[in-house]
Symmetry: D3
Subunit: 307 residues, 6 copies
Amino acid sequence: MSSQPSRYTDPGATDWRLHDIVAALRQSRETTHNVRHKGRIREMPSRDALAGIVKGLQAALFPTHYGRPDLSDESIDYFVGDTLNSTLIVLAEQVRRGLLFVSDADASGDADLSAQAIQITRHFAASLPAIRALLVSDLQAAYQGDPAATSVSEILLCYPGMTAIIHYRLAHKLYELGAPVLARLISDLAHEATGIDIHPGAAIGPAFFIDHGTGVVIGETTVIGEGVRLYQAVTLGAKRFPTDESGQLLKGHARHPIVEDDVVIYAGATVLGRITIGKGSTIGGNVWLTHSVPPGSNVSQALNRND
Amino acid sequence: MSSQPSRYTDPGATDWRLHDIVAALRQSRETTHNVRHKGRIREMPSRDALAGIVKGLQAALFPTHYGRPDLSDESIDYFVGDTLNSTLIVLAEQVRRGLLFVSDADASGDADLSAQAIQITRHFAASLPAIRALLVSDLQAAYQGDPAATSVSEILLCYPGMTAIIHYRLAHKLYELGAPVLARLISDLAHEATGIDIHPGAAIGPAFFIDHGTGVVIGETTVIGEGVRLYQAVTLGAKRFPTDESGQLLKGHARHPIVEDDVVIYAGATVLGRITIGKGSTIGGNVWLTHSVPPGSNVSQALNRND
Amino acid sequence: MSSQPSRYTDPGATDWRLHDIVAALRQSRETTHNVRHKGRIREMPSRDALAGIVKGLQAALFPTHYGRPDLSDESIDYFVGDTLNSTLIVLAEQVRRGLLFVSDADASGDADLSAQAIQITRHFAASLPAIRALLVSDLQAAYQGDPAATSVSEILLCYPGMTAIIHYRLAHKLYELGAPVLARLISDLAHEATGIDIHPGAAIGPAFFIDHGTGVVIGETTVIGEGVRLYQAVTLGAKRFPTDESGQLLKGHARHPIVEDDVVIYAGATVLGRITIGKGSTIGGNVWLTHSVPPGSNVSQALNRND
Amino acid sequence: MSSQPSRYTDPGATDWRLHDIVAALRQSRETTHNVRHKGRIREMPSRDALAGIVKGLQAALFPTHYGRPDLSDESIDYFVGDTLNSTLIVLAEQVRRGLLFVSDADASGDADLSAQAIQITRHFAASLPAIRALLVSDLQAAYQGDPAATSVSEILLCYPGMTAIIHYRLAHKLYELGAPVLARLISDLAHEATGIDIHPGAAIGPAFFIDHGTGVVIGETTVIGEGVRLYQAVTLGAKRFPTDESGQLLKGHARHPIVEDDVVIYAGATVLGRITIGKGSTIGGNVWLTHSVPPGSNVSQALNRND
Amino acid sequence: MSSQPSRYTDPGATDWRLHDIVAALRQSRETTHNVRHKGRIREMPSRDALAGIVKGLQAALFPTHYGRPDLSDESIDYFVGDTLNSTLIVLAEQVRRGLLFVSDADASGDADLSAQAIQITRHFAASLPAIRALLVSDLQAAYQGDPAATSVSEILLCYPGMTAIIHYRLAHKLYELGAPVLARLISDLAHEATGIDIHPGAAIGPAFFIDHGTGVVIGETTVIGEGVRLYQAVTLGAKRFPTDESGQLLKGHARHPIVEDDVVIYAGATVLGRITIGKGSTIGGNVWLTHSVPPGSNVSQALNRND
Amino acid sequence: MSSQPSRYTDPGATDWRLHDIVAALRQSRETTHNVRHKGRIREMPSRDALAGIVKGLQAALFPTHYGRPDLSDESIDYFVGDTLNSTLIVLAEQVRRGLLFVSDADASGDADLSAQAIQITRHFAASLPAIRALLVSDLQAAYQGDPAATSVSEILLCYPGMTAIIHYRLAHKLYELGAPVLARLISDLAHEATGIDIHPGAAIGPAFFIDHGTGVVIGETTVIGEGVRLYQAVTLGAKRFPTDESGQLLKGHARHPIVEDDVVIYAGATVLGRITIGKGSTIGGNVWLTHSVPPGSNVSQALNRND
């Protein structure tokens, strides 16, 4: 390279010792956990495919907001039907891949898995009108809960809380139907877009509203009633993680809060453990709460001030 | 095909009962809030279009950082002029759509709306040099405020706080010019990218710096002076939401803090209500503050320690 | 056209006074900091290119998760080798651009910079197997640390903490090799996707796990041991920023915490300054901590309750 | 550039004297024909938009061949309806632009033009089933006329003659409805893809088949009966172009051949002028024919051979 | 639309009577040939997929010309292997679809078809080095045959004849292996790009060169020896199409010319029927030839001139 | 794969014996002509880049037809300038690559080649106004020569002859400036789009018109005067290719026709050798002409007819 300057055109200029690195990476793969499962390739669900699926479902549920703005009375059902069909076909394939992670997939042939995936997809499709009804209740709660909101359309277009709840309600249904990995992926898509992290296993009633939302965490076994409102950075988390005798974490047991109807939790509050926040309570910002409070409680943080 | 099922090739394999679902979704749409406004389609502003508009404006304002890195003295103005023109044409159409939400659009014909949209866009365009000057003051504040910053270019390329402020200053101008829905959309684009949620209605002085920024919330009626610095997860929010006699939220009245010049607010502080933080004050991390403090105050959190 | 107004078809309908705005923006550029460095164009590194580079590296490190799901034993090394090669070529060019910011680039010719960039890229490439080994330790820590995790694949696909750590480990190596601006850009890409902000200068040991993660901030001079676990909104920050006699910030001196092995820090804790958190300590949620604590400490927040 | 080698990074390295060239091009535009029509911008129809429109129409007409291959009984109509709707909306806008070229557009307002464009589009849409019926007759003619054809699907997927006829039948309808510029654009899209140049003004009966097709030219006033078959490089052209007294070409008068039912014309034949080729005639390859021939004629070329 | 002009925003403005058209198109589909084959969907091979496959194969065969120009000694095999693998996976799926058209697909299950498709793909892959050797002979023939050719690279990059021959040699192998529909699609892709129409069934020896090429047609049963050269618009076609007793075309029988070694055929010549052009003959431009000629013949057209 | 049907999921299902094929292809590359030139990689010019360059130049020359249709008086120069600049930067890099094929590139360093490429690009840019003037003369010739043409815009949008001439005039200038490979690539792009093959070395006067055009071939040393008109499938070719004593083709000597002013050549005529067609002559369709004809000649084909 010395006397004849050039950019990447000398032979060997871009020799990276690829053979050595490729070999070392292969060795690294082989000595660690391998996705190869009993000798067969387990195709991963695709994050990009899931993102497209959520986009398609949103368009089918709210066609003029998330689909195309110029739909007319005569064209809207064609749009909804066609969007649903193409979305569900992609979803069925992702569900099939997801099943490789949960079912005893080795015992059943691929054909069984496909049939099972289509069955799940069909049930999911059938639940979409009910999901839409829940989302409408959430929309109305947002409109009533935020003085800055000027229309329902604005909430659909601009509110990250709404984005997170749409993702959650779709993911939760897939979780219920036996597709937890897909559910989790959808949930993380919402997390990436909004900073709101709702585990798809959580059970959340209608008319749910999250304002601003960045940093909200809602754990796997959380139960939330109707008309609950959360602000940014609220954690509904686990306090401790019980282990079995061998010290392994116990997975799946109830360890997150129960939040009853009409509770409001302000920014930054941290609520931990299987405690109950009674109906109609208000939890102040930045509060750290690890025990149950009765209905109608008002919890707030101490303040020191040295001015 | 008989006994060995296969992948999606049987007739009916991908029958989702589309007719039923499409009909149920139609019914759901018809019984809830409808975007059809007095019999006419209200085209929604497009989130993707807004994202492209912001990208175009950023490129026009800082061409070598956000446009293309190889612009020369003779080519840069062509790039700026062409980028501006194509961006403003798209913006004018989005402004027109946004006006359907705010003006008494039914009374005025489409032609009036278009003319009004172009007028707003023209005023917006004319304000870009002033916006750039503000952004340069913000850049300098960032460079002086962060010991990790090594150059102004690094701040433009890598600092989420800068991204949020650029979006805010553009959105705020549109808000002032009567395009609040577009402003809100731009604001949510910044929120999605940075985790910083600044309502476009807030009034923020020059030399503003947000470090890290995730979880920052700045409410609609907040007023911020010159040279203010915020860290991640700071909330400048409302304490309570007054309602009218019928229990409806009062919209738009002053309910967020006034932060005077040269105030620093550390990570996680929550400042609520129409209070004033006096010039030069420092608010410590995780503080919960709901009353005014005089200039030069120093507020910090209590700490318990049981080790 | 006279009486019936129309949409953008009148001559002048879309006149924005481009000449004035373009001239004002040029003036604004000329009176402020200019990327033109001693008369030469300093090409900026490209955020999009960096995003593609990280994607390529992830695919090379975990081919079936981030590359393509259908790789077989015979095809996987071809995929890894080809992906690496095309990624490293792009990386070398970005490193070259980055060097314009750090080295005394004006003294050396372009050819020298190119050679230096290729050298750095080669060292970076050689370190990939070691980076992969660290990431495997992180994966195992996540699997053991989260009761909701059902498989290693789920963590790779859905955990923002894992995304952030992958970005960090790649960025940190570039930082060490003398490409700090690229490192910072990668770091901000992770921040955008996850809400987790790890400065590439931080030194982090193996088996690191961040759960949920939104709002986590880890400063430039932080030192983290082995087996540390963080939750969302934890700040490992600087307490104050020392200045030199002239009032300029001192850049690069040690000002962030040292977190020893096996420490757990819960959601929202703020740990500031060059303090040491002793091995095995637990820091409670929302705590504000500015002094060192010995090994095995247990720090938690006070709580007021007025119900 | 002398001693320090570099690639495009010196200031001025990429100075192209843009100002001079831009000015010269402006002057060139101003001294020649200008699209500005009586002071208004005449938006050109878009070739790319037309290509998309043809693609959409083909998908609506033959959904499993040109749309998506996995449509089921329940989904196919949704696909057709949605594809049609989105295609027709784009078409209406292109028709509107096309009208600026043909109608006395200056007299009518934009609103009139839009209404007229929608009217044309509606008529066009209504004719699609009839167009499909013609195309089915063409398909059957191709299947029967080519011993190499193994299925109707193969003809739809692989035969350039079929591609050209589909474009022609769509273009011809637009031509009839008063959108000749769009028709011409569609015609040229077929020409580009197939080398077959059919003027949309030609009148062509059912069961038309062109084999191979490259170089076929069919002029504006050609009339073709039912069951006609052409091979590659056949010209049905004009012999001479009559002019008016001032020497200007007379536009639009009948100057191309009439080809009656069941005629076959082999490769390379050139048939010129308003002559009639009688029903059932066969014209041999490479023939040059400028006078009418009665029904059942057999015309072939002379051959010299010097071996 | 009445008094207030607007663009597509009135309800019904874009009513196309979709229901009627969709219903009429459905009826049209049902009364004509249907791709539904004995009740099952026959997925069509995809033209776009085939285009990608050819691109991938070209890149694997000539990596620096059709792949990426900056491959080094250490990276080239990774590129070739990875490109081949991803291309062959897509090809196998297209072969499977193609088999639905040729085999007695109804009798065999999908699994059999998939296995058969993979087998064909494997054989095809194994033949690529031999195909490359033939293409190198064609390249050398082009270089020697065209005085305007300045390098082998120029021929690979710019010669439509070369493009057509590459497509042909790939298509011919698929044709031999039992994938005639795919072969035909590839052949038509070449036709679209070059105007050269070579049926994949033709048998063509090494060192074949077509100059310019537009309008060349080579029929299904043509046999071409070694070192043959064709110019534009040459037809090697069938003279007549024999039918069986019922008047149906006999498919697949030998009806195109045999062209022996070292023959040159000039522009526009039409050679029809199962005749033989003897070794070393020269056929002049625009000749119409329907009988065999012995080796070393020289055939040219008569000329009239009336000046 | 035996009893459990599946699609590509068994290990080895997609084993293609990649190692063998990759090795065989490597061997094939090594035994044949290699692009590696004296040990250095010769980066190929990119066909896709050239396509983009032509698109950019067309947009700069005819902004409202090939650029964007909504340009206004104030925006058009910005568009032209910006489009030119970004196009010329890409062109300069392609010219540099092209120089590796023509110059004694090994003797000169990369920096020299870059400087030379920029010099060529600058000259090319400076010639664009003159090229535009020629194209305007061609446009006027088309409008006057075709009775079917209704406007100049229609010719720019729909006439393949115009497309071919634009490509030719750009390519010819690059050819003159010493970039023959690029010129050839541009020429082949036109060939692909239009079926018209004009060698960039040909010299063509103003007011040139090709109607329909498919199959037109114009050889490297052709000379065409002013106001010439060609129809489809006209060949202006070489009659024979002289060789040197060793049998090698002599490259570059004058071997194609001279066509004087105002000549018209009808469809399918083949004109071969260094002959002269005198001013104002008319050559009939399908004529085979190999000797010069004086000014004002009228040449046509003989016709046999057996009806």
